[in-house]
Symmetry: C2
Subunit: 353 residues, 2 copies
């Protein structure tokens, strides 16, 4: 039984590919595995969106570096971000908890307070769930399935990008990775305000639900493709390019770097672009806009939400692959350093994280 | 942090009650936490049903006593049973896996083969999922969310039973518990065929989806309340009585005991009624029928599916509580020995199970 390939040998994406080959389908499944959400047709006015994601203690969070309430908020937020990435409105959540026996009730109630707060903020009902014990000391796991809806004809998928479209991002990518770095490498000399900002961005990411709704309302002839940045900008851009069968060029100097990110990068003598291009868990939206509609899109989102949206590059033909152009006009191939949560979590003992 | 109440002190039902108090809701949630499924109104012809349930290695299954394919089938079956219990048609499943690093790929592929087979059998699409590692040696966890639909006005809930209604059960309850007993207490002298039957009923329960559909088509004025037996007949009857604010009388001699159950009970010198009344994981349907419709209901289900449905008692006023009447006309209070999976899993080390 213990011989042969084990799952640590494969990465998350390869594993999912193997497991999800030849799955039973139904005619009312408009989009199955492979995007941020599945898209289901229940013969109602809106289409149904479904997604699920789990957070594992020691892999995705620790009780030492986040409060129970922050953990609860983030567990729901990462799922809200998947609904946002399709342009959807979140509606119902099912919460499944796997509990180690010694978990204090106060921790669990803190997590639920966080779940409740985030659900209330995005008008999401908690309609079900399950608790199970592990029978032995082990990690706390929060697994959430989230359902949302989106109007027919307004689903924003990864597959719609066209050559010549402009690539946009919401907010300031890289902050979460910088925050994670400061948690892994504590240093009392970090600039205090910057450290607070980037850690908050890591612990309680802000799902771009309102921004996603506005973008989907603009129509798929204006906003052509979208996904959220969970694995890192380069990794998620690769997902978009693969599904749309295109390439892309990012102009490095256009990347919107936050002052907090720059301050932490300066202090640690690291390149802030590295965090912005390859850091995971931003939960910002990455989307493509038909040429000529850039201003319309920027103004629509910023006027309604205050969230900056920034053009950072352009969609190229597939043979061009992914490239990045620096301020000195030098162009390089952009390697996807996609964060493989599964592989990382299998390779490193929990205590190290 | 480690002081105060911990979750092992509370049972599953008490814990869920505490966590689910004051949850954020929405007007389109017709039924939230507290039944087999939530019932959601998406303004389509049918109502949406949602449920989630997880299976934890060492608590709900072991790789020593079930094959990977059986484990996969059962993980989906227990969720199918929840949709069946509302009279619904299963449609879409999301599969979330938590994987220990050393798990052989062949085991995972076996589990997926089981999931696929059971999904195909009940026309259910696997539309999403997630895999996460645990970062250290730990148990395999399969967490499933299942969505289904049911026609408006045909939802069978736990709360509809009326005094005078007849209590029915599908199939032969107790087999699964007897099968579990033979796995915990192996003995080469068990009657071989009986052992095979009860173990199969434990390892791959048969969700009563078709039976549930027929019952819901008969209308809520004929079939007034329903739920599935996962915690044991007495425990789930108590759930029905609580939600319907009624009592109940079970006539012990009417309980449909399978020949296999009787054979294992005779061999072990145990009372087969104990397994039938209190054994968990039957995944049969327990439902109430308006007086006068008993024959209509029996014939409808048996002619279409071949599954026996048996009247086993009657609904009483709430002050009568739950009672059982034996063949000698002696009546006793029926204690709910509801199987609390959470408490059991927290109290016993996994290795013992």
């Amino acid at each position: 039984m213990r011989l042969g390939l084990n799952i640590g040998t494969l990465g998350e994406f390869e594993l999912i590919k193997r497991l999800t080959a030849h799955l039973p389908g139904r005619a009312d499944v408009l989009l199955g595995v492979g995007d941020d959400c599945a898209v289901l047709d229940l013969q109602s006015e809106a289409l149904l969106l479904t997604t699920c994601d789990s957070q594992v203690e020691g892999v995705h969070f620790t009780l030492q570096t986040s409060s129970p309430e922050q953990i609860g908020r983030k567990a729901l937020a990462i799922n809200l971000s998947d609904i946002a990435a399709m342009g959807g409105e979140p509606r119902y959540a099912l919460i499944s908890l796997i509990l180690p026996p010694a978990l204090p009730l106060s921790v669990l109630e803190g997590i639920y307070a966080g779940l409740r707060a985030e659900a209330t903020r995005f008008n999401t009902a908690l309609v079900g769930g399950n608790v199970a014990g592990t029978g032995q000391a082990a990690q706390l796991i929060i697994d959430i399935t989230l359902l949302g809806t989106v109007e027919r004809g307004h689903v924003l998928m990864r597959s719609g990008a066209q050559v010549g479209d402009i690539l946009f991002v919401t907010g300031t990518p890289g902050d979460s990775a910088a925050g994670f770095y400061t948690l892994l490498h504590p240093d009392p000399a970090y600039p205090a305000r910057a450290q607070e900002v980037v850690r908050q961005r890591h612990r309680t990411p802000n799902p771009r639900v309102h921004e996603g709704r506005i973008l989907s309302q603009l129509g798929t002839n204006v906003v052509t493709a979208m996904l959220d940045i969970s694995d890192g900008l380069s990794g998620d851009l690769e997902h978009l390019c693969t599904r749309s069968q295109v390439g892309a060029l990012i102009e490095a100097e256009r990347l919107p770097l936050s002052p907090a990110l720059r301050a932490i990068a300066a202090h640690t003598l690291r390149d802030p672009l590295d965090w912005a291009l390859h850091g995971g868990e931003d939960y910002e939206l990455l989307f493509t806009v038909a040429p000529g509609s850039e201003q319309l899109v920027s103004e629509a989102v910023q006027s309604a939400t205050g969230t900056p949206v920034t053009p950072i590059g352009v969609i190229l033909p597939a043979p061009d692959g992914m490239k990045v152009r620096y301020s000195n006009q030098r162009e390089e191939r952009l390697a996807s350093k996609s964060w493989d949560h599964l592989k990382a979590s299998l390779e490193r003992p929990a205590a190290e994280k």
